[in-house]
Symmetry: C2
């Protein structure tokens, strides 16, 4: 077995999911990830935890969703009972074919999600982590050979996470103390927002593997200005390109996209909260050096900023602050590597991807 797989398993079990002896653990994966599952199971045995294994079969899920009546979806009671008796959850993505669910009726996908909000909430209450196995379908989407994609994934995952966390902590501290944040890139992005009273979080070896961002939530009504998301965003299998959004009093008042503007419209029309920003994230994982159409990696990429339309994470909202509520959380990314800066309370803290606390930073 590739030693990187074994180390991936160890960081998932020991650090991200914080598994202890006697814990009930659920592992969930597609069979393409069997070697990682095997390594995780070995580690769970060493610790003396008690595992179960869920199979993500997109072929089975598709066949089911196409045969199912939209009105017949109901809460998965046996899944809820299991999750409520579980301590830690390790979810592994990895696909032979990421388009497998593309011909499922979208109303059934929505019905399934709506029927299982209670289940989703139970998952959120666990010690959980989501990660990626370098499977062929994901390599193909990234336009990479399997071997190159493996190197890409492990470069992002197989890191000194203590060191990474310390590096990020510097930006987290700046964001946590901040009142106003301004993001400027090229001619088309100049966005201001208040983060006053909000909490900045350090995402390292936690609920995402790879982690690698500092994030917080803006005050919902405070976002003003324009932003160009110059990295593609996938939505129901479609690629939204160069989405431009204009904000007034925190709300999107105008928008365009160079491709699939309809999809952008659909996102914004989901509910009231979908027109507002729920997250400001700053990518800081320099192991991720290219865009691969996979948000787990893309949003952590060094030299990027992402904003999420929709729901704010509870942990980033201060106790006296309003939380943006929505059924969606759609991250969108802007490249900050050239002709760009981030300003906090009037002071430039990042220019062209380089942070104020790094050698080589030029104000």
């Amino acid at each position: 077995m590739d030693e990187r797989v074994r180390r991936h398993a160890e960081v998932l079990v020991d650090k991200c999911a914080e598994v202890e002896q006697g814990d009930m653990v659920e592992v969930s994966a597609s069979p393409v990830a069997e070697e990682l599952v095997e390594a995780i199971y070995e580690r769970l045995g060493e610790i003396g935890a008690r595992p179960s294994l869920s199979w993500q079969s997109s072929r089975a899920s598709r066949a089911y969703a196409r045969a199912m009546d939209e009105d017949d979806y109901s809460l998965l009671e046996h899944r809820l009972a299991a999750v409520e008796s579980t301590d830690a959850y390790i979810g592994i993505r990895g696909s032979r074919n990421i388009a497998e669910m593309n011909d499922v009726p979208p109303e059934n996908t929505t019905a399934a999600r709506n029927a299982n909000e209670e289940l989703q909430q139970a998952f959120d209450d666990l010690n959980w982590v989501g990660t990626q196995y370098p499977a062929a379908g994901n390599a193909q989407k990234a336009g990479m050979s399997i071997e190159a994609y493996e190197d890409f994934v492990y470069q992002a995952v197989d890191r000194d996470w203590d060191e990474q966390r310390e590096f990020q902590a510097q930006m987290v501290e700046i964001l946590d103390d901040a009142s106003e944040v301004r993001i400027v890139s090229g001619d088309e992005t100049d966005l201001k927002m208040s983060v006053d009273g909000m909490i900045a979080e350090n995402d390292a070896d936690d609920a995402n593997m790879p982690g690698g961002e500092a994030f917080t939530a803006p005050v919902p009504d405070s976002v003003e200005g324009t932003v160009l998301f110059d990295q593609p965003r996938m939505w129901r299998g479609e690629e939204i390109l160069d989405a431009r959004l204009e904000f007034e009093n925190g709300e999107v008042v105008e928008y365009t996209a160079n491709q699939n503007e309809d999809a952008l419209d659909e996102i914004l029309e989901t509910d009231d909260g979908a027109k507002r920003i729920g997250e400001l994230g700053i990518g800081m994982n320099r192991g991720i050096d290219r865009f691969t159409y996979n948000m787990l990696f893309d949003e952590k990429m060094g030299d990027t900023v992402h904003l999420a339309l929709g729901r704010a994470y509870e942990e980033s909202v201060g106790s006296d602050c309003e939380r943006n509520v929505s059924s969606i959380h759609v991250d969108m990314i802007t490249d900050m590597s050239e002709d760009s800066f981030i300003e906090v309370d009037g002071e430039v803290v990042q220019r062209n991807g380089m942070f104020v606390f790094e050698d080589g930073f030029e104000e």
Copy 2:
């Protein structure tokens, strides 16, 4: 998709597990069986049932069992919670390599089983069915090509089960009314037992797919005589050949085997009930025409009788009768196709595999 796979899925869902709209269903399989899982999921969607999918990974199970401390096994609380909220369970066997667990410490296998008796009991209370997918590892063990093995499996499974049930009902009625059963084959098998007060069961499209037997339980103390099990019995990866057992007052008093007698000894020494017979079964599925080292099929083979050392099934034990109790239930098989007969209360009811209610029976 092979239409036989679709029909297999339908009999499992509709008949064996009796799934209804809104039922919580668990499907459990190895990824080699994905096409059958897909067909089952499609059928569950048509019915409006709500599924979950468990992955049997022998590689992961092996890695875990080898790393685990024997003393750390405990009840799988999340699995128990799930099963207690489940209506129906469809378990699919099918292996790439049936020897995958052969280098797991047997004491860990035992510890895992002992820690989860409550879970096993919860499974037994479900509408459950166990079946087989024609995977390469099973084909190899049977000494057959994949295509030939597929034909073998579907010949056993893809039947008119109403007709099969009626055929078997004739033998069930004879057994149910019987007081004494005598099994004679060649020079070495002549065994008598009382089934007085016991209940004969008709196993067709029920908890096993394929089904295909009439079975009951003997009165524990009543078994007398000798039996040669001339079909191989696998035990922890070893093949026991030509086991000969002598019974007095229901208990094994002498035994030999031509190969792996130690394994036979280990079975008999498990506990007190392991030295007694818990089941008398008569194979009646003529779709199964050869021995394949797979008890699910072997015990249903036409022209065979099987006896199980150990535990009697509750449903076959009359309310006024003693039930043989043991932690094991080890079926062993005798070929009845030549020089053999079954006698019920002094009357021959099967000779050389042909039943008294069939054309061509010769008393």
